[in-house]
Symmetry: C2
Subunit: 243 residues, 2 copies
């Protein structure tokens, strides 16, 4: 049933609704809707423009991928002044990995807005990342590099790019916190609840308690990420205290 609902929903939205959804996803107001419409159009609709060129999100993936690579390269270049070419290349491939892009697309719920003639369940696992890339491509066409950069910072770099974690020095802050609590024989508890507020996107909030005291709070688009964010905050707070 939910598959059918998705298809119907995606086909029935009017310009106004789509504009609002986009503004929510993008964090700014789009100027021209057409690139975004393309970014949510699946090839199964067989749409073509007057010159016979296919209208779907596949070409936009190419463009978005290029912009993602450039923005992340520029960020890493500045963030890790000691990293050589090989290091920067490796780190970038982690940030823009298929797995990570799929997570990002999934968190933004992009698939819910796809216009398609086939059930979304038939899409491959990479649909989420592909839609995310296409969206970045559409932003570039609509507002240029600066807005692309801003979007990538807000949605990718600021929340999720942690150099130490990327380097494999820290696999998970949550596990570090749990280890610490176990070693120190402290009780801990992650309280997770939905806290969507005024957002169109689903959000989760986490309170991390150690010995019944809230030591960190965080909010993100998935439970796992909210827990990780809270753990990271707690971890640094604990380190400062120990010093």
């Amino acid at each position: 049933m939910s598959v059918i609902r998705n298809i119907l929903n995606s086909r029935s939205y009017k310009g106004g609704n789509f504009f609002n959804i986009l503004t929510q996803i993008l964090g700014f107001k789009p100027k021209t809707l057409s690139p975004y419409k393309k970014a949510f159009t699946h090839r199964s609709l067989n749409r073509r423009d007057e010159d016979g060129n296919a209208i779907n999100f596949e070409r936009l993936e190419f463009l978005g991928d290029a912009m993602l690579s450039a923005v992340v390269a520029s960020h890493l270049f500045r963030a890790v002044p000691g990293g050589n070419e090989g290091y920067l290349t490796k780190m970038r491939s982690k940030v823009v990995s298929r797995k990570h892009l799929n997570e990002l697309g999934k968190d933004l719920g992009l698939i819910e807005h796809v216009q398609t003639n086939i059930p979304v369940t038939q899409f491959g696992v990479n649909i989420h990342g592909n839609l995310f890339e296409a969206l970045v491509g559409a932003i570039y066409l609509d507002r240029g590099y600066k807005y692309c950069e801003r979007f990538i910072y807000e949605r990718v770099i600021d929340p999720y790019v942690d150099i130490e974690q990327l380097e494999g020095k820290v696999i998970s802050y949550k596990s570090l916190v749990i280890e610490w609590c176990q070693k120190e024989k402290k009780e801990f508890d992650f309280e997770v609840y939905e806290d969507t507020g005024n957002d169109e996107l689903k959000h989760f909030a986490v309170k991390l308690r150690i010995e019944n005291r809230v030591v960190a709070k965080a909010r993100a688009t998935s439970k796992k990420k909210a827990e990780e964010k809270a753990s990271k905050r707690a971890y640094y707070a604990l380190q400062t205290k120990i010093k």
Copy 2:
């Protein structure tokens, strides 16, 4: 001897001279010289900043490569609306191929300005392309994406990106013109002369004569490119005439 001259030259330029050379190469005035100085510093000098980070052009190659890929992706996306993702990816890899970047770096004579402790003859064949990438990276740091885009259009896309040629439909306009002349039993002649004018960079001018009439003129940074440019002009002029 010329190797030693290169090394001496490269070490002896003052800020003012470097600024003028850069302005000539870039086609605009640089704001901050430091990224460009880095772009022309070879690792053999073992330079380090106060934090111990290496100062040489290698990290800038990573950044420049990312910007080149993004700008060329955006150009191809718009220039070939019928090209799918696979096509666009293939075309881009032709434009930013090692071979092509080496040609571009060589044409700009970038190697003449490298600061190094080893003779330039010991650099690998890819030094020209590496310097070109590093220069693009420096432009990004100095003036941002827009200037990077402008530079890449002026130095790469406008003069050398020909979709038909990239697709392999036209290997060389010069050979097309020669073929046509032979078939039509017309005499032809390429007159090439150096025409550097006020430019810092060496330039060549070509007059293409068919039956003693100049049918096309062109100017470029190598003989081969000037001939190709003139041939392309002549080719389209001939086609228009034939129709």
